[in-house]
Amino acid sequence: MTTTANAAALALGDDALVLSHRLGEWAGHAPVLEEDVALANIALDLLGQARVLLSLVGDEDELAYLREERAFRNLQLVEQPNGDFAHTIARQLYFSVWQRLLYGQLASAEGALTGIAAKAVKEVEYHQDHAEQWTLRLGDGTTESHQRMQRAVDALWRFTGELFQPVEGLDIDWQALEAAWLTSLTATLERATLTVPVGPRAGGWAAGAGRQGLHTESFGRMLAEMQHLHRSHPGASW
C-alpha cells in the first residue's frame, strides 16, 4: 500500500467505523424491535467494511481504540449524534447515497480498494433502500413525522458539502459525484413531499473538516465510550 492509498483507506474506514458505532447506540432503543434489528444489521455491515479498510492501514484494534480524536479522518456527518429517529434516517440517507455512488465507481476502477468496494456496494444498496423507504414514510406520513423529517434533513444539510471534498488517494470526479448525489437525493426528498434544503453546503459557514482531523463536540464523548473498555483493560479478549 502506498501512502495515498493508506490515506484513502483510513478516511473510508473511519467513516464506516464511526457511523457503525453511532448506529449501534440504537441497540435496545429503536422505536420498534424490527427497526432495532435493522439498524444493528446496517451497523454490522459498516463494521465489517471498517475492519477490512483499517486492516489495510495497520492493526485494526490499535487504529480503532488507541487513536486520539484528531487522528480520526471520518466525515463530520457520520459522527453527528443520533438525535430522533428522523435525524438518524436523514444521516443514513445522505451518507448511503454518497457511499453507494462512490463505492460503485471504486468497484469499477482498478485500484487498491476495488475488491472491497465491489463487496461493500451490495450492502450499501440495501442501506440506501432502508433510508429511502423511511424518508418516504416519515416525510409523507403524519404532520408530526413530516415536520421532524424536514427538520432533520435541514439540520444535517451543512455537513454534506464535506462529502465531495477530494480524498487523497481516490481518483474520482467529485463534481460528477456531487451532481449524481443531488439528483438522487432531490428525487427522494420530492417523492417524500419534503423540501430540498437551501443552506450553504460549502464555504465559510458550512461545516466539514473531518478529513483534516477536526471534529464536532459530541465526537469526543462518542470516542470515550467506544474506547474506554480497550483502554481500561488493554489486550482484553473473550
Binding site: L33, V37, N41, D129
Partner: protein, 96 residues
C-alpha cells in the same frame, strides 16, 4: 423501546433454497407490505437462511380451531392404507 405499536402483524415465509417450498419462519410488525418484506429480510434471513421471502397479513390467515382438533385430525391415524408405508423408496429420491 415502545411496548405497543399500531402496526399490523405479518407472517413470514422463507424459502431456504431453490427447489424447496416456502416455510413459515415467524411473524413481525410492519406498517405496510414493503416494510414487512424488509423487516423479514433483517429478522429471518440475515444468516443466509433464504433465497426468497413471502409476507402475508396475519389477518389473511384462517386457522383451524383447537376445539375442532378431533374431527379435523383424529380420524387419519387409524387408516394405515393412507400412509405410503408399503413402498420402498429408491435411493436417489430426496425431499420425499
Amino acid at each position: 423501546m415502545s411496548s405497543s405499536t399500531d402496526w399490523p402483524m405479518w407472517e413470514v415465509f422463507v424459502r431456504s433454497r431453490r427447489g424447496l417450498s416456502h416455510t413459515h419462519a415467524g411473524s413481525l410488525h410492519a406498517p405496510d407490505a414493503e416494510m414487512a418484506l424488509r423487516n423479514a429480510r433483517d429478522l429471518y434471513t440475515r444468516r443466509n437462511e433464504g433465497v426468497s421471502l413471502w409476507v402475508v397479513p396475519s389477518t389473511a390467515i384462517t386457522a383451524s380451531s383447537p376445539d375442532e382438533k378431533d374431527p379435523f385430525f383424529e380420524s387419519a391415524a387409524d387408516k394405515p392404507y393412507r400412509h405410503p408405508t408399503f413402498y420402498e423408496i429408491p435411493d436417489g429420491v430426496k425431499h420425499l
